[in-house]
Amino acid sequence: MSETLGAPSGAERVELRRDVTIWGSYTWGYADVGADIYVALGLVIGTAQGGAPLAFAVAGLVYIMIGLAFTELASSYPVAGGGHYYSLRGLGDFFGFLSGAALLLDYTIDIALFATASTGYLNFFLPYLGISLASFDVSWGPLSVNLLWMGETLAMIIFLRWLNVRGVRESSMVNEVIGLVDLLLEMSIVVFGFILAWKPELLVRQWLLEFPEPRQFMYGFSLAIISFVGLESISQAAQETRRPATVIPRTSIALIFTVFILAVGFSTVGLGILPWQAFKAHESDPIAFLASNIPYLGVIAGPFAAFLGATILFISSNTGVMGDSRLIFSMSHFKLVSPWFSRVHPVYRTPSNAIVGFGWVGLVLTIIAFLTPSVLDTLANLYAFGATFGYTLVFISLIRLRFADPYSPRPYKVPGNIKHKRKDGTVVEIPVLGFIGMAGVAAIFVTVLITHDIGRVAGPAWLLLCVGYYALFRHRNGLPVFGSVPHDWEQEQIDVLTKAEEYELLEEYKQALIRRDRLAGVPSRWEGAV
């Protein structure tokens, strides 16, 4: 991804170059979402046991609705910022900040979680070198940590930060190549697993006899949502995507269904090859473990999957760094956080303050997580909290924007709408699926609060800390804490569509605004602009 981030001056917004193609957009998303299964498979099968395929399927159905909501919003508002921007437009500054804070938590956890998982896959090779990972376990009273694994992870995070401060110009091409190879590998594991090793009687036995208790299943189901987190990367990259209104719906929908089929396919093939207890024992490298158990191919497929897993998880961790910096850049532009965060490095022209600042947070979170009984489970807890909270706000924003901004052209609309004519004559389409999706994701959020011991404490604590900072920052700068500063969203939308070269949509938007003004009997400021 080539970046042209520059220092923001006054009201002028720094522009990101639009050079992400349709394949680039797909692989950008896939490098993020496709990596999730490398982490989630072991965790979800370990908790949902024989019910893991159902847990993935139910979470996947909610994810499809989340994906469709993101597709509508990202193609209608193709700017960097993702969920935070939609909440800001739909619900105002405070909720825009809250959504941004949840996303920041997710991106920061993304860095820690995927770096931990990436080194976990690298550790798959340790036995080949005659090294035992367990020999690096150290205990201090109730606390225990694996020093080698933690050391590797911290080194990777520091390396990523350094890489991003220096600039990440080549990463889009790397994403595309790795994304393609990984897609082929994941599909091969599923297909060859079904052909060569799958025993339906084992799947059926685990389904019928080893289905977990309801609370345990709910925990697994709420963890399964992490295997789908990351689709918003496409919307984060929207400001750099060529013809976003055309490209984003295609790539998003293709990605949604690819990831859904792979997640359900992996869990089904996995439980038809191995008992769930085997996955629980291999939580750090489940895909490599599964691949190594495929007859004939396992000797090569296992190490290859481990290597590829380590690589794609590393890239996904990098996506977290990029997401953090882009998000904070957008938040700073809208006066939700201090401009200090968006200051760019004088030599490398990258947002170094944001990268280094959140790097420290990521490092601290990683160390704390390593001190808990299961590092991956702890990080996944927080990841699930941030994602479900942010997604709930995105659904509310989707519904709110249908009413507040019916004029913006929507190249894609979430299906299942009821037309409602308002008193002023405008027609609003009420998104029924949006309401169902909101209820679904809110249910997962409540499940996270009920079943995740760490997520329900650390997640709200993070949000409270962020809200405290926000209140202080806004108060000091004479800005309303719960209210919003005036935004010229109409001009903003026109600028966005112009820069995206979506001229058809631009005309459609201006005509809609003129019609609205005529109906209201007021002169339209867009009249001469058409």
Partner: protein
């Protein structure tokens, strides 16, 4: 999404043929999963994954076939 017609392909490439071949393989794989699972017991994951493979395979076959048909029509018009 506004329904856009499938663009007429200028060439029917090797990649298109591969897509068709993979799609054709997905359908029997899905059927095999469905039959083997249902023969033991009716379970949600077996049916879901089997049906997904069949559905996805059929969709890809339809897409590939439509592209091929459009390509042939274009070729005939050009001739």
């Amino acid at each position: 999404m506004r329904r856009r017609p499938i663009p007429t392909p200028e060439q029917f490439t090797f990649a298109d043929k591969c897509h068709l071949a993979f799609a054709a393989l997905m359908v029997p794989l899905g059927v095999a999963i469905l039959v083997r699972t249902v023969a033991i017991a009716v379970t949600v994951p077996g049916i879901l994954v089997g049906a997904a493979f069949v559905g996805f395979g059929v969709h890809r076959l339809w897409l590939g076939w439509t592209r091929y048909r459009l390509f042939r029509q274009r070729k005939e018009r050009a001739a």
